[in-house]
Amino acid sequence: MLGKTAGGLYWMFRFLERAENTARLVEAGFRIALTRSQDSSTEWESVVTTAGVCDPFRKKHEGFTASDVIDFLLRDKDNASSVYSVTKSARDNARLVRTALTAEVWTAVNDNWMTIQELLKKPIKETDLPRVLDVIRQQSALVRGALHGTMLRNDIYDFARIGTFIERADNTARIIDVKYYTLLPSNSFVGSSLDNVQWETILRSVSAHRAFRWLDEEEMTASSVARFLILDRRLPRSLVFSMATTLENLNYLVDEYGTRHACHDHAEQMLKNLRERDITSIFDEGLHEFITGFINDNNALGLLIERDYKFYG
């Protein structure tokens, strides 16, 4: 496979994953704004920070109002990470690697772009927001379904999966990073309604609020929520799940190509760091430090993969 094609697949699926994550973040923010009586601009600010677009947002807007944030994260063409922009980037990358995709996957991505374009043509009214976010999530489910249902399990599939899970790990880590102070046991008053709302929001932004109740017999506490998001192997958006899947697909590439690279050692070390920890030791080390370290390691992994598989010249 061409290095450029591997890179195109990797980015195509990073962008698709980002669109879905951004839609979830907006949904969680919207929900907290609806359920709280006081000013919600702090919540919207943390949504923008989690999306990693605080600087470009501030350049355009004064305060963090619901309508500005929603517009910026969903529709704004000047925001390279808006749902509109990443959906377009995903499709551009799909065109670049079209010969590597089945007709079903290509059609799903193309459909996705046409639907999102139409959906985000005009500013989104608050009454329409739930429907719009629903469509965005459904569309990415369709692309993922086409990928799983029709693609050969070869290097093409591996690069698609690696892109998906590197992006997902980054997203979950950033959600924790922005809200880490609400997860610190020292700051929390067990059972206080403020913390419950915060934890619920965090869980909602990874679509795990229901799963938490089903799977976790513990009381909802700061450390149980943190443990769930970081260390639970059953949660498909936890850091450990994302890392394990990334490594699994990197290892398939070793099987297929017969060559091991620096990225494999690096990913193995990252997974070990997660698997050999419990939440207490992470809190002892410092949640913020731990998460910052993870985000940096994850970025470094992306760069190693780029280099080892010759995405660019």
């Binding site: 079209r98 010969t99 010759k310």
Partner: protein, 497 residues
């Protein structure tokens, strides 16, 4: 409201040139379906019977179904000069253009003869130049031609093939009157429309194809692959590795490039994926550099090698011409083939065919006046209002005069330009182009068409796909079939015997 009549299928790209040379001035043009008001020409007989049986609403519904299908498939072409390169669709008309087997046999013999002559001509021009020594064409025509590449002198491309892929543009004016309008010997485009148009028809009207036996076109990608592989350089041991070189996703024909690569099972590469490794061209893969044997390039000569041609080109591969001349890569089409298809050479094609094949040309040329010759210039100036005048090296309809459509002022302005640099122009009479019906709200209505068959050349022989791309001018009376100017396309059927 006319646009609703046609199925806006998207198409790979606008085919290069605009056929302004064809102006219908007579109402009695040749219609390929009907003779008079009632009689149907034999090739269309079965189709017309089927068509008349159709419930009127059904075809309209089929159009809509297909439109949705095509939009999703994303067969688009890009339009240049837009900030965000816009992807557009090209209209596709449901009524096929039908050619009888006997007509096609004659046509394809003529095309084969012409393509054979073009390859012999290119070999001669870049080697002994016998045709110049014999005085059959003027030396200046070659020496002053920007498409002539001195780097090709004394070199024989692998397999002796210069034009691996040719698209010969043909127009018809009567029952037995076919003319070659242009020989596209560089990187002819549009073949993906030919294939997608047939796929569309098969999906929409399967029953038609069980009723009427049509020669298939679907072997084209397989034949293209085989033909390119047969031209692999001697240095290639084993199965040749083929790649398609595209300028990238913003090129107007990108869809076609990815389509052909996909259909051939070849890699789709850009210049920055390639480099010279150990005297060969190699592509950067996830496992390091891998050698390529045959490069089907959809990048113009000028951009192919910044070390040899345009130094600012980012689309090509530095050093590829050295690898080529060392015999370690096949480039299809060969660099420098443009010297055989420009408008000045065109007027000599009958002589060229005779010189290299010893036979009279089977297909006619459109009569062409070389304004550089004093007698011709006088004739052209006297009859400017009836002629089409083109720049010798121009393309895409720029710098062209369409006499019958021009105002008095335009005519006199053009006469001045023409007198100042007569050698820069050729002139042709206007032809009465044939028509084929398209579907409009009220039924069938005749529109003017041309035809581009696709020809593959390899050391094993010449292969012409039965049919080709029919372009149709969708506006009543119009002769402009170009997709960027409101033209559409049709499926082209060559009937089985």
């Amino acid at each position: 409201m006319t646009f609703r009549r046609f199925l806006p299928v998207l198409i790979a790209e606008p085919v290069e040139s605009v056929n302004f040379s064809i102006m219908n001035t007579k109402p009695d043009h040749f219609d390929e379906m009907r003779v008079g008001d009632t009689e149907v020409r034999p090739p269309y007989a079965s189709y017309k019977t089927w068509f008349d049986d159709q419930e009127p609403g059904r075809l309209a519904r089929k159009s809509k179904e297909a439109e949705a299908f095509f939009r999703r498939t994303g067969i688009t072409f890009n339009v240049y000069g837009q900030v965000a390169a816009e992807e557009r669709l090209i209209p596709f008309d449901l009524v096929p253009r039908i050619i009888a087997s006997r007509e096609w046999t004659k046509l394809s013999k003529g095309i084969e003869q012409r393509v054979r002559a073009i390859n012999a001509f290119l070999h001669d021009i870049y080697n002994r130049q016998e045709i110049l020594r014999a005085g059959r064409i003027p030396i200046d025509l070659i020496a002053k031609n920007a498409a002539f590449l001195p780097q090709m002198m004394g070199f024989s491309p692998p397999g002796g093939v210069y034009t691996h892929i040719v698209g010969t543009d043909i127009v018809r004016t009567g029952e037995d009157d076919f003319f070659v309008l242009e020989d596209n010997a560089r990187t002819p485009s549009g073949v993906s429309y030919m294939l997608e148009n047939r796929e569309t028809m098969l999906q929409m009207f399967p029953e038609l194809f069980s009723r009427i036996k049509v020669q298939p076109v679907s072997d084209y990608p397989k034949n293209l692959r085989r033909s390119l592989a047969a031209c692999a350089p001697k240095s290639c041991n084993g199965k040749p590795v083929i790649a398609v070189l595209t300028p990238g996703i913003f090129n107007s024909a990108y869809y076609e490039h990815s389509f052909l690569a996909d259909q051939m099972g070849a890699e789709l590469v850009e210049g920055h994926d390639l480099r010279v490794v150990d005297g060969h061209i190699a592509m950067r893969t996830t496992q390091g550099y891998k050698q390529i044997d045959v490069l089907y390039r959809r990048v113009d000569d000028e951009y192919l090698d910044p070390l040899t041609f345009n130094p600012n080109s980012m689309l090509g591969v530095p050093g590829i011409m050295d690898v080529y001349r060392a015999g370690n890569i096949t480039i299809a089409n060969a660099p420098g083939t443009g010297v055989a298809d420009d408008k000045a050479i065109y007027s000599y094609m009958p002589d060229i065919v005779e010189f290299y094949t010893g036979e009279k040309a089977i297909l006619k040329n459109v009569e062409t006046f070389r304004c550089g010759e004093p007698d011709s210039l006088k004739y052209v100036l006297d009859n400017l209002a009836d002629l089409v005048v083109k720049e010798v090296h121009g393309s895409g309809g720029y710098g062209m005069l369409v006499g019958p459509a021009a105002s008095k002022k335009e005519l006199s302005d053009f006469a001045d330009k023409l007198s100042a640099r007569p050698g820069n122009y050729i002139a042709q009479p206007t032809l009465s182009l044939s028509t084929v019906p398209i579907m409009v709200k009220k039924g069938l209505a005749p529109r003017h068409v041309d035809l581009r068959p696709y020809v593959l050349v390899s050391p094993d022989g010449i292969n012409i796909t039965p049919g080709g791309l029919t372009r149709v001018a969708l506006t009543e009376g119009s002769l402009v079939v170009n997709s960027s100017q409101g033209g559409g396309t049709k499926d082209t059927w060559v009937l089985e015997d």
